[in-house]
Symmetry: C2
Subunit: 233 residues, 2 copies
DNA sequence: CCGGATCCGAATCGATACTG
DNA sequence: CAGTATCGATTCGGATCCGG
């Protein structure tokens, strides 16, 4: 038994030993969006020390979660194995759970293309999804968000390199939405679309405001359960 | 932004800051079985340093995941808040995922009542569940496992204190099964019930061997996906 | 620029001892 | 029972450096 092992023969323990180290799950989060190069990961995790990124990638490879793939067109990428991709529903659920406890952003907090992409997947509600095609800007991050036939597709417009999955769509989006992190309040149902605009949480730069109604029905996460109730005597 | 923050405004990041520290998720795992006293948790996590347990419990309380409840009958217990209990499906999924990577137990690995209880919940397959009523022994741990009407109920027989949820059932179990950790191979479908007995992975001490067939249909987790396939070019 | 490796101080973790 | 206190062993974080 390794010194740092939890010392239990248990599935949860095994899982935590595979992806429970600091930063590991965030690496997986970014890789769920698509294969990424070392430098991409470093930019998507601005505060990760490079030696930790390096160490985690080795551990995740050793655990069969991540694979290192030399690219034909020079360079190399890290990608999830089939086993690693099986974490997708779990990470979406974790993101949904964490979103409920998410408050206002702390000073210095950033939003990255991959984290916002996963946040949209997290809050995407198949049941009430409405067709959409818009451009979403949060800080420096710009995404093309398309919903059609109950399917969500997100293309990252920044940086201006179409990495995987083909180039960005040719047609114009129905709307361009510029949002602060306050978009969270809309997704959490704390404000209506109209209130969100009124409170400068987001603005429809091009297109009809009406689209925000569809957005609010398509992306939604319920508010945090109260922590003072629910005693189990 | 705290020094040790991940510096991102994201649901996954928030979740990991709440329950991603070392040992935290294992505390949640045990509390999902029921409210536990400090000493119960310490016994269920034999290798946790007491100062870490103490620190984690404070952090989990600060995060609204755990609540400290003074007991009428002297003493106090920790229990999950409603928000903490929302982690149950996530922890079951994590356990299922980790189970697939679980190999043979390392020297010194133990099985605890709570981890085995959660493992049974993890591998319980509602769709193919068969009615069952048996006693399961793994190492020092003994559980009464009852399945009826698609519902699983687990009562911990060791230590011999019926803590929560009333006393153990009066009636005799249909069978007593004594298993080594090799019960994993049965649940993973790597061996049939007959082979499991043949290979000394488990024994039916009292009752009919036929019950193992029902057990194998009721508790099941598919094997690990191969890690060498599934390239995404 | 890409893909790391190395070094070092700071913070955390683990083990043991001790206390109300 | 329910933790604190202490202290050495690890790990993390930040910075720098290096070969392609």
């Amino acid at each position: 038994m390794a010194a740092r092992s939890y010392g239990q023969y248990c599935g949860v323990t095994t899982a935590v030993e595979l992806v429970g180290e600091r930063w590991a799950l965030l690496i997986v989060r970014d890789l769920l969006v698509g294969p990424r190069r070392y430098t991409d990961l470093k930019r998507g995790l601005p505060r990760i020390p490079t030696n930790i990124l390096s160490t985690r990638l080795k551990e995740l490879q050793a655990g069969g979660v991540v694979r290192r793939v030399p690219l034909a067109s020079c360079g190399l990428v890290y990608e999830l194995t089939e086993y690693g991709r099986a974490l997708e529903p779990i990470l979406l659920a974790i993101g949904r759970w964490g979103f409920q406890a998410m408050g206002e952003p702390a000073a210095g907090d950033v939003v990255t293309p991959d984290s916002l992409t996963m946040a949209l997947r997290t809050s995407f509600q198949t049941a009430t999804a409405q067709d959409l095609d818009l451009e979403l800007h949060v800080g420096d991050v710009a995404l093309r968000v398309q919903v059609a036939g109950g399917e969500l597709q997100v293309v990252q417009l920044t940086p201006a390199a179409p990495p995987v999955g083909g180039p960005a769509p040719e047609a114009e989006p129905q709307a361009v939405i510029v949002a602060g992190p306050g978009i969270r309040r809309l997704i959490a149902g704390e404000v209506t679309p109209a209130e969100a605009i009124e409170q400068d949480l987001l603005a429809v730069v091009r297109g009809e405001q009406q689209l925000l109604e569809r957005f609010a029905r398509t992306f939604h996460i319920p508010p945090t359960p109260s922590t003072s109730t629910g005693s189990t005597p």
